[in-house]
Amino acid sequence: MSSLAIDVRGLRKSYGDKLVLDGIDLNVAEGTIFSLLGPNGAGKTTAVQILSTLIAADAGEIRVAGHDLHQNPEEVRAAIGVTGQFSAVDGLLTGRENLIMMADLHHVGRQVGRRRADELLEQFDLVEAGQKMAMTYSGGMKRRLDLAMTLVGSPRIIFLDEPTTGLDPRSRHNMWLLIRQLVADGVTVLLTTQYLDEADQLADQIAVLDHGRLVAQGTPEQLKRLVPGGHIRLRFTAPEEFALAAQVLPSAAQNEESLVLQVPSDGSVHTLRSLLARIDDASLEVDELTVHTPDLDDVFFAVTGQPTHDTTDEKVTSK
């Protein structure tokens, strides 16, 4: 069992009358990815700001990288890197100058600093943009520069507050690859996200935050088991077809009025293929097939009994 990179007990924070974090406990093992999952206003950013020494907590015992955060904030700062939710680049400096400034603040020496800056520009696909002022960057470019700046000092613990919000699918995928690479090198990552699939893809442990309280905690598998949601929905036009299908697929939940069957499924291609095979074998006429994977909304519903918001989006894969 590795030691804890982040160890939090009874973390509380209020802004005026508003209780934002209500006694949070977190344990993040070294070299793992921990995801704080929650909707808007849950307190994710506040938690990251406290753990990264930016704002003071009202109560709670916090150890980061083995140091008590209240007693030794400077030691904590030396061990961490933070990419906040909002851009933290110097808009009047170029991308390269921003990186060199970070290198200077880590006192790595002029030569090493410049080399490190150029490597990171290369790695983050910012070589051309590196000579331009950061305020002219697009949102995605700023985000990448932001993360590159965090990595200059090779921190052992990295906080990422919604690292992929606002990124296009390709950049989002690259960000995931990069986070995995960091952890493969032994870095500990605490990231926040609003997307269950992101937490699912990356995290070893997930904590679900709602209105300042942790409402569930566990591995992605454990969390998904809380969710009854995953199923394939089959809609029929003819009542005879519906009746026949109900016989062929006895595990399905039936809704006779709307001629809909819900077949439990983990959403994998394998189960989809075997279902399609059975539909083919029985020569069923299916009007519409949709795959429902559990999302944050389902997890929320499962753990709080309330949806995060009132939109329910369904992923239509075939018609």
């Binding site: 990264s52 020494t53 930016l54 704002i55 003071a56 955060l69 209240h70 030794n72 904030p73 400077e74 030691e75 700062r77 030396a78 961490i80 933070v82 906040g84 909002f86 851009s87 933290a88 680049v89 110097d90 808009g91 009047l92 400096l93 100058e97 400034m101 200077d104 603040l105 006192h107 002022m133 700046m149 000092g153």
Partner: protein, 264 residues
């Protein structure tokens, strides 16, 4: 404690950052440089004769430009405090300072960078004012040592006022607000002093204020150093005491504002 602090290196990094900003976004700095030059030309050339005649030799028999220049030097320092106050306030509204605050860097470096950047800019501004004053007839009568003392006093005042202005600027949530809260420093102090006319020719209320505010003894000291005019014995020490007091209050107050709400 294993973290080593690098006060010099971190402050130098922040100073570089601010000088780059001044070059990239020169509007604010050029304004700060140009205003005092306009003042010395305006009052030295255009209004000078009128003021001088009105005073009827109360300026101690000196040319008005000689009387005027020390005060305009202080005015340059005062008006120059606006841009670091606004810049420091703007910094706080931006993510980059949040990033700095989560890093193990020398805490006072960010603000000290603003102060040093402004000291450099103000020295340029003071040199320009002296240059233009000499062009239009300023004839100081000072030894090298006098010049050195005068420069030291001017720089001490710049450091002190800049810290104080930054502290004021940080009390404001918006950069616009910051430029307003420093107005008392950048306008009131230079105008309600003996910059333009001697204390004796002021209405009593304003005179009372002018007599006890920091600029007046400093201007008297500068006139004494540069022109050899007589001054009260204590004025030099009073000037230094003012600089020290303003610097100390400004430094600690601005640090307090900078660290507000964070884990110190």
């Amino acid at each position: 404690m294993s973290t080593v602090s690098y006060p010099m290196a971190d402050t130098a990094t922040m100073l570089r950052r601010n000088l780059r900003h001044a070059l990239r976004y020169p509007g604010l700095s050029l304004g700060a440089l140009g205003m005092p030059v306009v003042m010395i030309l305006l009052f030295g050339l255009v209004f000078g004769d009128t003021f001088s005649a009105g005073l009827g030799g109360a300026n101690g028999g000196f040319d008005y430009i000689d009387f005027l220049t020390p005060g305009i030097l202080l005015m340059s320092i005062a008006s120059g405090t606006m841009s670091p106050a606004v810049a420091a306030c703007m910094d706080m509204t931006e993510g980059i300072v949040a990033r700095f605050r989560t890093m193990a860097i020398f805490r006072p470096a960010v603000l000290t960078g603003h102060v040093l950047g402004n000291v450099i800019l103000t020295i340029v501004s003071l040199a320009l004012v002296v240059g233009f004053a000499l062009l239009i007839g300023f004839r100081p009568n000072a030894s090298f040592g006098d010049w050195l003392l005068a420069s030291g006093l001017l720089i001490a005042l710049t450091v002190a006022l800049t810290w104080f202005a930054i502290a004021l600027g940080l009390t404001s949530k918006t950069p616009e607000g910051a430029s307003n809260v420093v107005l008392p420093i950048s306008l009131l102090l230079p105008f309600l002093s003996n910059t333009f006319i001697p204390l004796e020719s002021m209405p009593s209320g304003i005179r009372w204020f002018a007599e006890y505010q920091p600029f007046t003894p400093i201007i008297d000291t500068l006139r004494h150093l540069l022109l050899g005019t007589p001054m009260d014995n204590g004025d030099g020490w009073v000037s230094l005491a003012w600089c020290l007091a303003i610097a100390v209050v400004g430094y600690f107050w601005s640090q307090k504002n900078y660290n507000k709400g964070t884990v110190a």
